[in-house]
């Protein structure tokens, strides 16, 4: 069967619907000052979908795709977890699960100057913010917020980091609090979620860390009640095992 070329489809009929690469979106409600976000490409007054995702629209002129992938496409002001893989005289080279390495200037820390460069070893896990993300150039990161303060950015010590999809990371960061996180006793663990699909967890005991990580990894496609039930079962099992010992 021949592949069919997708027909140009009216924008309003596609809002909050799934689109696939190659779909052409025409008849946009307003074309002045278009702000085209991730996953979409502009061709005169049409939009082409580049990824599989849900088309979202915010009045008056913002269009983007919400999609979930293993690979991350950097965009400005995202907070992500990166791993240091190298260093040159001006920047740390950081892997952010994207197609190119990102550059973190050695002075991009609170009170950072050429004299007090932090000693980050290869393999360090960092919580960073994306400052520049242009097509064709390496993304640039920073360990400060926009005003120059540290604001919890920087290296993460101990704990456990695992990979997930970008969709799961966004779900965990959504408000109101995601059910799987809500079901845990929020004071008993620390979690840092990177929009690039990396999640870091730390708790008082290793079994708790493993429990939380497994629960999060399994929760991507469960509904709210299923997530709550799963967490309850896991914590009950852990309690019975601990009490048996």
């Amino acid at each position: 069967m021949d592949g069919q070329l997708s027909a140009p489809t009216q924008a309003t009929s596609l809002f909050d619907q799934t689109v696939i690469p190659g779909d052409i979106i025409v008849d946009l409600p307003s074309v002045a000052n278009l702000r085209v976000g991730s996953g979409l490409r502009q061709d005169c007054f049409e939009l082409l979908a580049m990824k599989v995702g849900t088309l979202r629209y915010k009045k008056p002129n913002k269009y983007w795709l919400e999609s979930s992938h293993k690979r991350y496409d950097p965009s400005v002001e995202d907070t992500i977890l990166g791993i240091v893989v190298g260093r040159n005289s001006e920047n740390f080279l950081v892997d952010i699960k994207s197609s190119s390495l990102a550059l973190l200037p050695v002075v991009a820390f609170e009170g950072g100057t050429k004299k007090n460069i932090p000693k980050l070893e290869i393999g360090s896990l960092l919580y960073v913010r994306v400052v520049k993300a242009n097509h064709g150039t390496n993304p640039e990161l920073s360990c400060t917020d926009a005003s120059g303060k540290a604001a919890q950015f920087g290296p993460l010590k101990e704990g456990y980091m695992f990979d997930s999809s970008t969709g799961l990371a966004r779900m965990l960061l959504s408000t109101p609090t995601c059910p799987v996180l809500q079901a845990f006793d929020l004071q008993r663990f620390k979690i840092v979620i990177g929009l690039n699909g990396r999640i870091w967890v730390n708790a008082s005991t290793p079994s708790m860390v493993v429990l939380i990580s497994n629960a999060i990894m399994a929760s991507e496609f469960l509904s709210a009640s299923q997530q709550a039930n799963m967490v309850k079962e896991l914590t009950d099992q852990l309690q019975t095992r601990c009490s048996v010992r």
Partner: protein
Amino acid sequence: MSAGEENIATPGEILGDSSQFIAGKGTYLAPNGRNIHASLTGQRRLVPPPPDSAEKRLTVEVVGHKTRGAVPEPGVVVIARVTRVMARMASADIMCVESKAVKEKFTGIIRQQDVRATEIDKVDMYQSFRPGDIVKAEVLSLGDARAYYLSTAKNELGVVSAQSIAGATMVPISWTDMQCPSTGQVEKRKVAKVL
């Protein structure tokens, strides 16, 4: 042996004595200071000295018999296409030297401090050039083994032609902005003032 062949010189061939001739283009003076040797293959040519100089000797030159493509020299204006934009520099393929096209590929680099003349440490390379832009630049120096150093730090140098994200050729509206005629979006470039 025809008369034409007597005039052809090959590299290393002795063309004359330094007491009678001055070494010109395509020739060099031997270390012993006496012989003038050819350094190219081509036609031997004698050039009389300028009438108002004290020099009495003729200049001997070897002129290449093949036409060579243009080669960038320091101080000439070249047209180049930007290939990569990085944090501190942009790399470009030189396509024309003055108005002649080049026959072999030359690479040029435009460093952050050579993009414009004012506020050179605040230059954002991505807001000055994008891959695919055609720029007019001046050759600063022969640079290193990999690339010439180019500069766009004058009003008449910079981006002359660029495509917008939507794919149309943009129209310059100021020395920092170009506008796409089909979507109206304005993009930042370091625009050349072409009169």
